[in-house]
Amino acid sequence: MIAVYLFLIAAAVVLSMYRFFRGPTTADRIVAVDIMTTLTTGLMVLFALYYKRAIFLDVALVYAVLAFVGVVAFARYMEGGL
C-alpha cells in the first residue's frame, strides 16, 4: 500500500520537472526546484516507513533544512544582494 503512495508522489515530482525544463524565466525554474524539494521531503518520510527505518527521518530533516537555505540563497542572488 505504501508503494502506491510512493509512485503517486514520484509522479508529482516528474510532473513538476516539466516546469523546470520548460519555464520561460529563471524564477519559474527556481519555483519548480522549491516544490520538487518539498515533495522529495515527503517522499523520504514515506521511504522511511517503507523500509521501517527511523534513521531515514533524520535524512529528511537535514534535506528540508538544506533545501530551504538553498532556495533563499537563490532568491538573494536573483535580487542582486549576494
Binding site: S16, D34, I35, L39, G42, L57, A64, G80
Partner: protein, 137 residues
C-alpha cells in the same frame, strides 16, 4: 489492521492528493506569481498530511511511538519555512522585473511604492518650505 494505521493511511492519501494538485497547478497556471501561490499552498498542506500521517501509520506498522516527535518536527519546520522561501523568491522575481500575466488586475506592490513616493515628495516640499521660512526670519 489497527485503527492507528487506518487514520495514518487516510492522512497520507489526503496529503498525496494535495501533492499531485500542487504539481498540476505548477504546470497549468499562467505566470510565476500564480504558480508560486497555488503550488506553495497545496504543497505545504500536502506535507502536513503525508508526514504526520506517516508518523501515525508507523504506530500500527512498526509498533513504535518514537516516530511521532520526529515527524512533528519535520512537519512544523516545513510549515514555518515554506512561506518564508516563497516570499523571498517572489519578491526577488518582482524586483528583477518578471512581468505579470496580462489578465492580472491588482498590483498592490506597485501601488504601495507609488503612495510611498508621494509621501516622500510631500515631506521634501515641507522641509523646503521650512528652510525658506527660517531664511526669511
Amino acid at each position: 489492521m489497527s485503527i492507528a494505521s487506518l487514520i495514518g493511511q487516510v492522512l497520507v492519501l489526503i496529503g498525496a492528493f494535495f501533492y499531485v494538485v500542487s504539481a498540476l497547478g505548477l504546470i497549468r497556471m499562467p505566470d510565476v506569481y500564480n504558480r508560486m501561490q497555488t503550488a506553495t499552498k497545496s504543497a505545504t498542506l500536502g506535507s502536513l498530511g503525508v508526514i504526520i500521517g506517516a508518523g501515525i501509520w508507523a504506530i500500527g506498522e512498526v509498533g513504535s511511538y518514537s516516530w511521532i516527535p520526529k515527524t512533528l518536527v519535520i512537519a512544523i519546520f516545513l510549515l514555518l519555512t515554506n512561506p518564508i522561501s516563497a516570499h523571498a523568491l517572489i519578491r526577488a522575481a518582482y524586483r528583477s522585473g518578471v512581468p505579470l500575466w496580462e489578465g492580472s488586475v491588482v498590483d498592490k506592490y506597485k501601488e504601495a511604492e507609488k503612495s510611498l513616493e508621494r509621501v516622500e515628495g510631500i515631506k521634501g516640499n515641507l522641509e523646503e518650505a521650512l528652510e525658506e521660512g527660517e531664511k526669511d526670519e
